[in-house]
Amino acid sequence: MTRRSHARSPAPALALAVAVAAAAALAVVPAGSAGAFAETPAAGLDEQGQMQDPALQARFEHIAKELRCLQCQNETIADSNADLARDLRRQVREMLIDGKSDDAIFTFMTDRYGEFVRFAPPLSPKTALIWGAPFFMLLLGGAIVYRVVRQRSRMPLDE
């Protein structure tokens, strides 16, 4: 949940602040809650449910919520029960225990699955449209409302 709110330089206008919040909500909040991480250990798996180190567990939960389960496409690997999501959670845990950085883990995933594996795509020329569209829509809507209100205010009252 770090990369989203500073995507644009801060502007004083209240409207922009609203837009930032709306864009962040649209772009990042995954469907469903992601509180519980109880893992059902499958046969032949060395899944230990929670990680021993609470700091690692916190990082694990953060990373798992940022990665898309590609089998189901609109779930995070934290929420999904799909086999691949389970394997990717194992991969994230192992890399955390190995002392890998968050960036190294995201790079591992995007090297294999592409940018789509990340729920919040990093701001880049390719993703500028995704990040910019909510602001553009808000400006457009604001302009239309402004015009309509100004026109109506010039109309005679009894019409």
Binding site: A42, A43, G44, L45, L70, Q71, Q73, D83, L84, D87, L88, Q91, T110, D111, R112, Y113, G114, F116
Partner: protein, 183 residues
Amino acid sequence: MWKFLLPFAAFVALVVLFAFGLNPNRDIHALPSPLIGKPAPEFALSNVIDPSTIVSNAALKGQVYVVNVWGTWCAECRVEHEELLAISREHVVPIIGIDWSVDHGPGEREKAKQWLERLGNPYSQVAFDQEGRTAIDFGVYAAPETFLVDRQGNVIFKHISGMTQEVWEKQFLPRIAAARKGA
């Protein structure tokens, strides 16, 4: 003037958007593979048929080959099996099978053996990916997926979902010919 022009411009923009977005030939689930043009992930896994031997793609350097990721649990793999058999009879390229065990159990190996005995074996070798790590390395998100690797060991094409005669003839054969000419 603007009263007419603005809605018209919006209409044209929508037509363009829909022409792209609603194109029936566009597969919204197809994701570009970041692996294209990069070295194929290396694997050395035990052989499904003969567990005492290892299937490794290091041994395949220098030749063009196909990697097919499948599993007996995968319905689409059953559908494409006939096509893989037909392809294998052409003896164009070796097809390396990677049997992806999604439950990580050893049972998949036995099922795969029976499947190949019953339906025929299109693969020159079949590797057993019990832990699903090779599938992750190849960026596979749903079986079957089929990769084409050139002589330098680089992935040059990836096909998601079942192999068909059309895909083989239109997508794979020309690339195989080009890969052989190129090096």
